[in-house]
């Protein structure tokens, strides 16, 4: 229990550190957010007025303090009842008041950033889940097949091809998949998000496959190495000698050992992807958090950038903690 408290306390420190550094960087980057909000051709007088409307004429420390004060605070249950809370996300209500999360209002979109993030986090979640699942499925399958016939042509072929695919940057894999499956064969949409659930699913295939192919090589290696070692263990031989089918032996005895490293990697990957797979989302124009953070950074949209940093760092840190504790629970030898 005290370990959990300790870890959580450090997690807060890490998130605070990440967000504070991001705030400083965002403030120090050259380029005028008000100019970006007003447009490249807006006149200086209009830019100056918009700057003060956005609150950018206040000193950085005051804005930093206000950011943390507003990030989590208590407010009315109905955010529309008070214009001061118009950009808040109402999380949990107690009586007439509620806990609010406030990322402010986007300079570019003139929308509460909380609403924008909420609309997109589901898409990023879908992509992360699909990507990690495909990585696991392809990686474990390839690793198993390779390990069952060590040294065979299949083994060498699988290992070489999985590391070859893993050598390509995601944008290259994405570009080729797009070209072959969407451009030439027209089986799948090139990019975008679609309008209906079915279209969302079709649009999800290519980016998920890109992430899957990219990450599968790692799991192939873990599973193959682990299975190869444990397949020579006595109990496997005994089980085989007793006449148990190979498949059952593998699943029952052999794969168990590989669970912890696989789970660790998958959990950390998932955390990283929840921050938004920036390149993949850009290539496929998948409107998730990665895409949002790129456009936020390019347009100097401070509230959007900071919201993305908060979500990313919380996701990464939380996945770290969860992976640690799940692994500890699964593996009695650890501590």
């Amino acid at each position: 229990m005290s370990r959990l408290v300790h870890r959580l306390a450090w997690s807060f420190v890490v998130v605070w550190g990440v967000v504070s550094i991001a705030f400083a960087i965002n403030d120090l980057l050259p380029g005028d957010p008000a100019r970006m909000a007003a447009g490249a051709q807006a006149r200086p007088a209009d830019v100056a007025r918009i700057r003060s409307q956005l609150g950018l004429d206040r000193p950085p420390l005051a804005r930093y303090g206000a950011f943390w004060r507003r990030l989590v605070h208590v407010g009315p249950r109905d955010r529309d009842s008070d214009p001061a809370h118009a950009s808040c996300l109402v999380v949990a209500g107690i009586g007439r008041s509620a806990v609010h999360i406030d990322f402010g209002k986007s300079f570019q979109l003139h929308q509460p950033v909380g609403d924008v993030v909420c609309a997109r986090i589901g898409r990023t979640f879908a992509l992360a889940v699909a990507g990690v699942c495909l990585q696991l499925a392809m990686g474990i399958a390839a690793g198993l097949f390779a390990a069952l016939r060590p040294g065979s042509r299949l083994d060498r072929g699988l290992v070489a091809s999985s590391s070859l695919v893993a050598s390509a940057p995601t944008f290259l894999v994405g570009l080729l998949l797009q070209y072959v499956l969407a451009y030439r064969l027209r089986w799948l949409p090139l990019d975008g998000f679609g309008d209906t659930i079915a279209e969302h699913a079709r649009c999800l295939v290519l980016p998920a496959l890109t992430l899957g192919l990219y990450g599968a090589g790692y799991y192939t290696r873990i599973v193959r190495d682990d299975v190869r070692v444990s397949i020579q263990n006595d109990w496997v031989r005994t089980a085989r000698a007793k006449g148990a089918p190979m498949a059952r032996v593998v699943v029952r005895h052999v794969l168990r050992n590989a669970v912890i490293p696989v789970l660790t990697a998958a959990g950390l990957d998932f955390g990283a992807l929840m921050g938004g797979a920036v390149v993949t989302e850009t290539v496929f124009r998948w409107p998730g958090l990665g895409d949002l953070s790129v456009s936020g950074a390019l347009n100097r949209d401070g509230p959007v950038v900071l919201a993305c940093v908060v979500v990313t760092s919380v996701a990464v840190v939380a996945s770290n903690v969860v992976v640690d504790f799940v692994c500890a629970a699964l593996d009695p030898r650890q501590r």
């Binding site: 990440v18 980057l29 590391s163 290259l172 921050g275």
Partner: protein, 317 residues
């Protein structure tokens, strides 16, 4: 073996390619390089890999880009390996131990941080020097610090930090994007994995008996680290570093692809991909050539690293 061959092939191409190209990689050829419909010409005897959107020879650009990419990747790996090794060994050695930072040094460090936060880097340097002097001077007790915890939280923070924002920040603070800033950026962000691996390895190594013996004999810590710990962790260090070269090639191309890498017209594989992707349908060689180069070299370094691992540490295989 495959790794050695692939890396050798890429290196030979990068070294000899520019000499063999026979075209200026930066010069547009509007006369011969442009097809009648205004698009770049495809692979031919004159242009081995065709021309690009500005009607320049793709082969020459690919070779020059190879030189640059390899150079950047190797330098970045060297930096990342050094930082990662120092941080990893220090953290692993000090894990679970409490070091005492002399009070003057602690005060100097805090002052340096405060000066940095207030935007006075000059004063921060003075404070750092003061901290170093304070470190040498007084040796009684001081501020108890868990350096391992601090370093690992720093790693956590950097791991949780959005790469793009970090790169933009470093790029802007340095001002001018040259090959040097690119590899400094990659080196400064790429050491996290190495640090974690070396920390774990050092924690294993420090329990070895002869290291205990050396400590009992009163040898200075730095000496033990260099002459006993480092040789023991060198194997994984070399393997990880070799594979890191491949990752650096990818990271370099991602930077170029996101538009924060080297400025044109200097060719890099990532920029060639970026400039070629719109023409994938009509001029596929513009994507195929740099794409194949990236995949081959990254794969080569990965295979080389695995080969090294098998050679250095047969138990792991």
């Amino acid at each position: 073996m495959t790794g050695v061959l692939a890396v050798g092939a890429v290196a030979a191409f990068a070294v000899l390619g520019p000499l063999a190209a026979g075209h200026d990689p930066l010069a547009s050829d509007f006369v011969n390089g442009m097809a009648p419909d205004g698009l770049p010409v495809g692979p031919s005897a004159r242009f081995l890999l065709g021309t690009d959107r500005l009607f320049r020879d793709v082969f020459a650009r690919l070779a020059v880009a190879g030189r640059l990419s390899l150079w950047i990747a190797l330098s970045a790996t060297a930096i990342a390996t050094c930082i990662g090794a120092v941080v990893g060994i220090a953290a692993g050695w000090l894990e679970g131990r409490r070091a005492f930072l002399p009070w003057p040094a602690a005060a100097g460090l805090c002052g340096a941080l405060a000066c940095l936060a207030l935007g006075r880097p000059g004063l921060a340097c003075v404070a750092l020097v003061a901290a170093a002097i304070g470190w040498r001077w007084s040796r009684p007790r001081g501020l108890p610090v868990n350096l391992d915890a601090i370093l690992m939280r720093l790693v956590d923070i950097l791991l949780a930090f959005p790469f793009l924002l970090l790169v933009m920040a470093i790029g802007t603070s340095v001002g001018h994007t040259s090959a040097v800033t690119v590899f400094l950026t990659l080196g400064a962000t790429g050491w996290l994995g190495i640090a974690r691996i070396l920390r774990a390895k050092t924690m294993q190594v420090r329990t070895l008996e002869y290291i205990d013996a050396a400590r009992a004999l009163g040898r200075p810590t730095l000496g033990i680290l260099v002459s006993h710990v480092l040789p023991n962790v060198a194997g994984p260090l070399i393997v990880t570093a070799t594979m890191l070269v491949g990752q650096m090639i990818v990271a370099d191309s991602v930077l170029s692809y996101l538009g924060v890498g080297l400025s044109p017209p200097t060719p890099t594989w990532g920029r060639m991909l970026l400039e070629g992707q719109d023409a994938l349908a009509t001029s596929p060689w513009l994507v195929a050539a740099p794409g194949a180069a990236i995949v081959l070299s990254v794969w080569g370094f990965t295979m080389l690293g695995e080969g090294l691992r098998d050679a250095l540490d047969p138990h792991d295989a």
